[in-house]
Amino acid sequence: MAERVITYSEAINEAHIQEMERDPTVILFGENVSSSWRRATKGLKERFGRERVRDTPITETSFIGMGVGAAIRGLRPIVELMLVDFGLVAMDQILNQMAKSHYMSGGAVKVPMVLRASYGAGTSSGATHSESLYSIFAHMPGMKVVLPSNPYDAKGLLITAIKDDNPVVFMEHRLLGRTKGPVPEEPYTVPFGVANLVREGSDVTVVATGRMVGLVMEAADGLKKEASVEVLDPRTIVPLDEEAILNSVGKTGRLVVVDEDYERCGFSAEVSAIVAEKGFNNLKASVYRVATPNVPLPFNPTLEKQLLPDREKIARAIRNVMA
């Protein structure tokens, strides 16, 4: 039987539908979520009604906080940020109230909420419409952070996120929305904290997330004659499958981390640091990071391209650790 192929956005849409059908406490709100122009949430209002699917005012602080409260009182809200960048106006509600209420309450309350957000650069949208920010969510304790890189994972991870009793930040890359891939029709889950071994290899381990996974695969293809590249996609950066990373580096002895977020104090630094601490004895070479340098993202497409990780930069880093 041929596998069904749908897009990343369609997979996300389907996860919503199946979970909202299964569980009447799942609700959805955010700016323009009832608009037919928005692929990930299209048709949900028509299907589940305006009580459960609501357009909000442009007030991220109040509606994210409302999600936290509703989650504490038994609903399972999916709250959408049009772009993750807009979450900066609401960081107290995200990083304190959403992420820490469970801990601060000593477990007395829980916050089963999903904060969905588009992210990512490459669309020439400028400094306030291009960021990744997931390293900030990972830095602050209390929330899980999910970065699906393909349609299959997008659906399975979102279903896991909705079922999870913890706050989850679910990050959808803007440029992956139309990417196609095989996705089962029935509901399924992809577990958190289990890395996906995208490609086996023996010379060098490359850890990459989101849109970077595809770029790494292209780079690895181009280097076939020079290096056997193992590609790991952690899928969730909190929780992180440290074991898979350490095992892979144990085998290859070399590590490159490819990350779209800013380099300084970013996820790429974290992976480096973990390996420098726990995998040092297996390391044969310096650990390289290919991340966005510490520069705001410019509007001009050529300038933007200059900053973002790409196939060439990834290939160069792989060659460097092999040298």
């Binding site: 609700i27 009580e51 459960r52 609501r54 909000t56 005012p57 007030t59 602080t61 109040s62 509606f63 994210i64 906080g65 409302m66 999600g67 936290v68 409260g69 509703a70 989650a71 504490i72 009182r73 038994g74 609903l75 809200p77 106006v89 609401a90 107290d92 509600q93 304190n96 109230q97 209420s101 469970h102 801990y103 601060m104 309450s105 000593g106 477990g107 007395a108 309350v109 829980k110 304790p141 209390g142 899980k144 999870d164 009793d165 913890n166």
Partner: protein
């Protein structure tokens, strides 16, 4: 208003003040590590508002939470244990005064960020609206907090969605503008009455003396009813005078502050109309003192958490 209600209000206020006096004593003895804003002088607000709330209703509070939590009916023992950072506290000693959460009584919760609880309260109200269970939520905040972006956003959102929510602003700067006791050099409020902002959100609003629990009871009743009936939010403002300093075990404020003291105020009225006699008063005070003593004994006798428990509760286990 019937006698019983009046006495209930009186007792609720006495309980809060007795409890805070107990805290003052423990603090001076070095037995209570928490620092927090005292509610002394404001008791009428929490007592008058919460008299209309059931267990299934919620309140959201601030850095000055004791009155809100106690009036909502939380356990004095577990509250004091939490303030003493004990394992038997509501939150195993992790919350302290700024983040106390008690889902059982609907005290959800104190908040260390000015205005931080207000959007969350909209979520409690939304849950009631969606579950259609007739519940309401109350959001307490100060006049300083009333300016915070998230608070103003939530006023708008609650009105747009007609949430079953009552906004209660306790204005401690009714004459001189103060912040945390400091007389500020520039005003923090561009208007005299916070309730003047109600019409900016298309909701009813009004301002009242926060030392008159009978009036508070009336207006809060109306606002809670309105919310329960699905007619949307109300913004109530109560002017309060924060009574500073250690009361040294006295329940009523000193001479100077008596005029603002809600307990003194109600006592005079109830003595005059015969609801209260010195004997009943004595009895109430004794009972509340005993309850607070019991809470103190419970808290001080409770075990500390084990250091390793610091690592628990980051995530829901098994999830």
């Amino acid at each position: 208003m019937d006698k019983e209600t009046k006495l209930k209000l009186y007792r609720s206020m006495v309980r809060i003040r007795t409890f805070e006096n107990g805290c003052r004593k423990l603090i001076s003895e070095g037995k209570l590590p928490a620092r927090f804003g005292m509610y002394t002088g404001q008791e009428a607000v929490a007592a008058g508002v919460s008299a209309h709330l059931d267990k299934g209703d919620e309140i959201g509070s601030t850095h000055r939470p004791i009155g809100h939590l106690i009036a909502k009916g939380c356990s004095l023992k577990k509250l004091l244990a939490e303030l003493c950072a004990k394992r038997t506290g509501f939150n195993k000693g992790k919350a302290g005064p700024y983040h106390t959460f008690d889902p059982e009584s609907g005290s959800l919760g104190a908040n260390g960020i000015v205005g931080g609880s207000v959007p969350m309260v909209a979520g409690y109200a939304l849950a009631h609206q969606i579950k259609k269970d007739g519940g309401v939520a109350v959001s307490y905040f100060g006049e300083g907090a009333s300016n915070q972006g998230g608070v103003q956003e939530t006023l708008n959102l609650a009105a747009c969605w007609e949430l079953p929510l009552v906004f209660v602003c306790e204005n401690s700067s009714p004459e001189v503008q103060r912040m945390l006791g400091h007389e500020i050099d520039y005003p923090q409020l561009s208007i005299e009455r916070i309730s003047d902002r109600a019409s900016a959100y298309g909701m009813p609003g009004s301002s009242h003396d926060g030392w008159d629990v009978l009036e508070i009871y009336e207006v809060a009743g109306e606002a809670v009813r309105r919310a329960r009936e699905g007619k949307g939010p109300t913004l109530l403002e109560f002017k309060v005078h924060q009574i500073e300093g250690n009361l040294e075990g006295r329940i009523e404020a000193e001479e100077d502050d008596r005029v603002w003291c809600p307990i003194h105020n109600l006592k005079q009225k109830l003595l005059a109309d015969g609801t209260l006699t010195p004997e009943i008063d004595e009895k109430i005070r004794k009972e509340e003192s005993a309850a607070v003593e019991e809470a103190i004994a419970f808290a001080l006798g409770s075990p500390d958490p084990e250091p390793i428990e610091a690592f628990d509760d980051v995530f829901v286990e098994g999830a």
